[in-house]
Symmetry: C3
Subunit: 342 residues, 3 copies
């Protein structure tokens, strides 16, 4: 565990089952002190069976209790039963594990502008800088070394880890989590080319809006819009080292995996999955519920429900059929030779 | 707008036309208070028609005036006419919009070495660290949380945003802009392999030189040379999350788009465009005016004026012809079957 | 050189040969003051001939002495002879060049928790933050603007450059070097999807372990494990802007080049090379001594000694044969036409 818990939780199987709202079977007096993976579980640990393919590991796990599906046959250790073992296990994690968070209060070595409005139970870490007219909502935690430029607005219950920057005028909703080094609102990459070949910077006047429950990974960059706003809608989760260019719009509950990039002004729908290292060009629209495979290079707009792979992108099925076809070329060469010899 | 302007600018159409050096037509007394996109413009806003394809949007825009080409037919709102509407609009942006910049002066909570030479009207933000014998030219702005290692030299009129690092001995020209989190001069990735399989670090002795008017995006990394210098020449613009390895040289006015990577010792010409997520290997030369498509994987040197795409790269035309050919394979299979059956 | 050396070293060729343990020939009294590349060498510089292909450059170099192989014919300048000129030159670099490092001591403007245990001769730079119960071994150097979260343990002789974060409970061995902006231990990207399409964050309980002699590049991100640990084994070197997801394990002496990404729970062997911009999916195993080409998109586990390229990956040979075959398609089309016309 990443934290030496100061108030370790200790529950019997029966108490735990009650807190999770689950039926259980087996020894209800067994003591549970934590959750663990199948590989590392020991005495006092709770595990779960996520998928039948993990059964070999599961059967060797030295755990004291397990969360299983309603259908699972009875085992040697106490079982807590759930229709959704993964979500119930998630609840159990929250009972036993609290991530490290600093205490609330403004560190004496933070610089907070007089005109900033700071809510209740806010933590501002050592050496963080909060600019003028910034607003920070109740319960938000700003770790050390965070830079919040003037006029930014940050909602309630947010967590901003060290080395994060939120640029001037950017707006974060509630429960927005920014991992270390994320940059929200740097200047978009906009230049006008002059006759002599030099590039003149187009001032980037816009902002970034991250709606409620957005999470942004470490060292990810989300640029401010050229004129209006770059907007990431409610519940969207963005991994590490992702690039989101100026004036992009991403719908609700979309997933953007590490090192993917989205170029300027493109509009991504809701419930989309953009896998790792994929690229979306500028000024396109990706429809709701689309899935873009890892390393895909999208070359145009996609209707809702698209599943594409490859660079340039193809529909998933066409992509794999194409590779199968390519592998047939040597055979074709032989066939043609045969035909010619006749 | 990302900043609540403290001195909002307010001009009549006639005054604005004069400042932009443009003829105008329509109501010269109309008041203009800002610039806006076609989508968001309202009363008091100036817009521009960049390209005929935006005419539908343009005609619905609720702006008070517009910059248009010399040929454009007269409209309902006042028109300012220009041979280069985009460059004239850029001038207009500069009249109405000032990006947020901190006041000059050294913040009492910055650490500046005694031996550092700081020019006039320099701003050094809270918690920034300026090492010994560093030189900073007039009018340069160092935001908070910037780290300038000893012996670095920074020209006049530069802007270094928060969380930037400039390593020991690196040299920045004038008007160099570094977005947040950019790392200039980290150690290049150089190791010698010993007989036992371990890697010995080759000390990286060189520096990075960023010439005048270079801009570097957020969280981009430009490594110091192994022995001499990594050099980015005048006017080159580099986007976010780009990797530029040790001893690379990039010519003037080149554009490197987000998440592209250039491996060690390669030499890129001037006026080159390297699109997003493209990769350039080590020790190659890319000629002037070349265009490398997004996600291209270059595998060797390229003469001036090359246009390549794909991984491994091909000439643009060959690349698209190749994909057309690949799509013909199923047809070829059918044809061969027919021929065989005869 | 990136540092104005305060104690410049000055040796005769004979003295240098003795320190390097090399035979030499030519003027043993010549003065050597530094090492240089073939391109930039001048009076007083030592160079080396790495490979016969550099002979034209070598012969024009204006150096005062050179390290060459045992077989090299005698030249005009003094030669020091070595079986491994590159490793001997590396030794020479270490004699003449010392990278910039701050003095030891805790800067008065660092914040170090009372419960932190700090070894001897440790340097903690201005504005760095060392959390509670952190341990830092002897001789370790923490540059300014580094954030070490509580419960982290850092070994002896490590170097952590500015803007680095080491998150709660992460463990670094001895001689671990972190370049600027590296993030060790940010939350892994783990969510459970609920029936309504929203994503619930899975608390990331694990840590990161970087064993002895690991080096991590600028702005690279290595996420903490979901439950156990992400582990990078002894001697592995990781370049800039690399993504290593939660619960990944990398063996000894592996090389991961810039912008490569490794998805969750994958296990990479020892002595592997993962080239730039390559992607490894989640839950796969890459065997020892494998080589993954630049931009490769691996789609499954690989046995030891694999050499793969392309996306989706193929064996190296198959990959290049495949491209050769694809180029034959136009010819096949012609052949079929001919056959048909008969």
């Amino acid at each position: 565990m990443s934290k030496k818990s100061e108030n370790p939780v200790c529950l019997t199987v029966a108490e735990l089952a009650q807190r999770l709202g689950c039926p259980f079977e087996g020894d209800g007096e067994k003591i549970i002190r934590g959750v663990a993976s199948l590989e590392s579980a020991g005495e006092g640990d709770l595990v779960f069976l996520a998928h039948p393919k993990f059964r070999p590991l599961f059967e060797q796990a030295e755990a004291s209790a397990a969360i299983v599906s309603l259908e699972e046959k009875q085992g040697k250790i106490p079982y807590l039963r759930s229709k959704t073992p993964n979500l119930t296990f998630l609840k159990a994690i929250r009972i036993f594990f609290q991530p490290y968070l600093p205490e609330s209060g403004i560190h004496p070595k933070a610089v907070v502008a007089e005109s900033a409005k700071i809510g209740k139970d806010v933590s501002v870490g050592a050496y963080s800088v909060v600019g003028k007219e910034v607003e920070i909502g109740d319960g938000t935690i700003i770790f050390p070394h965070v830079d919040i430029y003037p006029y930014a607005k940050i909602g309630t219950g947010c967590i901003l880890h060290s080395q994060v920057t939120v640029r001037e005028g950017c707006i974060l909703g509630n429960r927005v989590f920014l991992q270390n080094g994320a940059v929200i609102g740097a200047d978009g990459f906009g230049y006008a080319r002059k006759g002599d070949g030099t590039h003149v910077k187009i001032p980037q006047m816009g902002t970034v809006i991250l709606e409620d429950d957005v999470e942004v990974g470490a060292n990810t960059t989300i640029d401010k819009a050229a004129m209006d706003k770059t907007i990431i809608r409610r519940g969207t989760k963005i991994d590490n080292l992702v690039q989101i260019a100026h004036s992009v719009e991403i719908g609700e509950n979309t997933i953007v995996i590490s090192q993917a990039g989205i170029a300027g002004s493109s509009k991504i729908g809701k419930n989309v999955i953009i896998a790792g290292q994929a690229g979306i060009p500028d000024h396109v629209q990706i429809g709701d519920n689309s899935i873009i495979a890892a390393q895909a290079g999208v070359i145009g707009s996609l209707p809702a429900g698209s599943k594409v792979a490859g660079s340039p992108h193809m529909k998933n099925k066409e992509y794999w059929r194409m590779w199968a076809n390519v592998k047939k070329i040597p055979e074709l060469i032989k066939e043609i030779k045969k035909l010619k010899s006749k």
